[in-house]
Symmetry: C2
Subunit: 198 residues, 2 copies
């Protein structure tokens, strides 16, 4: 997320999911060793940010995605998607499940976010459930009080327009900063959502 | 600023400048020793946040305020305002200068932000020029490229609505994090605006 609250630029589309100038928000991740490994790419930089991304994918037993993020990513992710775990897509359009290479499967849940979270949690079992996005699903998950933690990767950019992560009107909620990791390119702020005093 | 980008709640007014639930954003500052001292109050907590606020007021030779922030604050600030330096108010309404107690004076500049910054910079001389707010003035100062640094006090709150610090459409701009100070109540992120690669 940029300092001014955007997670994608204007004019985001299936051809350009991160929108105009979206690379200013996301380029830090593309060169990380852990991100590249998950995407089947060689090389990349080690360090705190690579460790944070590795951690976010470690011990994940299921992933939840919004329909829009899935539509935007499906072609790019290809035959061996970077999730390496069962993925549950919240959508209104029924579609048969698919098994991809590398441990990823896609299951399309048409009866709402709560049902998707329930199915993903059951699949994850003792492992962690990762809600990868997009913005709408993350907001809904916060509102539904089903998240244990929220991690924001705050980049020192004023994007000046685009798709905001937070934009819905709702009652105030106090969070707790659980961990903060600073790098020149991005600040990783992890919030504990279990111990808040709403 | 809250994690979701607000610096005041909804329904902000002269009677309630911080808006509904605005205390969730600002209460960390009220108990700081340095903030209380500037406001003529005894006591308060020492520590990193108090040091950050003390530093923001140290060696300040002039202050610039927007008209709205001035109108909202004037009565509350009273006869000995917390600025302890000459204050230049950007406004459309001519008004005679006033000298208050404790080193504060108010000068009303009616020919625009650049003129106010010029007058304040001349008054400040070798000392620092502090742009205290509100949001509109801060945004205009960033856009006009007249700021050396920007400090965000990021509070772990999802306010859910109110007045945003950043909301104007503009070209993207890359900033540089200069310093980050973490406390349980607030994270102070200072951006260096001089060395950006726009």
């Amino acid at each position: 997320m940029s300092l001014d609250g955007y997670i994608a630029g204007v004019n985001d589309s299936i051809d350009r999911p991160i929108g105009d100038n979206g690379e200013l928000l996301h380029r830090w991740v593309y060169e990380l060793k852990s991100w590249r490994k998950a995407h089947g790419l060689e090389g990349g930089a080690s360090g705190p940010s690579s460790d944070v991304i590795a951690e976010s994918m470690d011990d994940v037993g299921a992933v939840v995605l919004g329909r829009r993020m899935f539509d935007f990513g499906e072609t790019y992710w290809g035959d061996e998607p970077p999730f390496h775990a069962p993925v549950f897509v919240v959508t209104n359009r029924p579609r048969a499940s698919e098994t991809k290479q590398g441990g990823t499967s896609y299951t399309f849940v048409t009866d709402g976010l709560e049902a998707a979270l329930d199915a993903a949690a059951e699949t994850a079992g003792e492992q962690r459930l990762h809600v990868a996005g997009g913005a709408d699903i993350i907001r809904q998950c916060i509102a539904s009080d089903r998240l244990d933690e929220l991690q924001i990767h705050l980049v020192p950019v004023l994007l000046g327009g685009g798709k905001r992560l937070f934009e819905t009107s709702h009652p105030p909620r106090h969070l707790k900063v659980d961990r903060l990791i600073e790098t020149p390119d991005v600040t990783h702020i992890r919030y504990d959502l279990r111990s808040n005093d709403k």
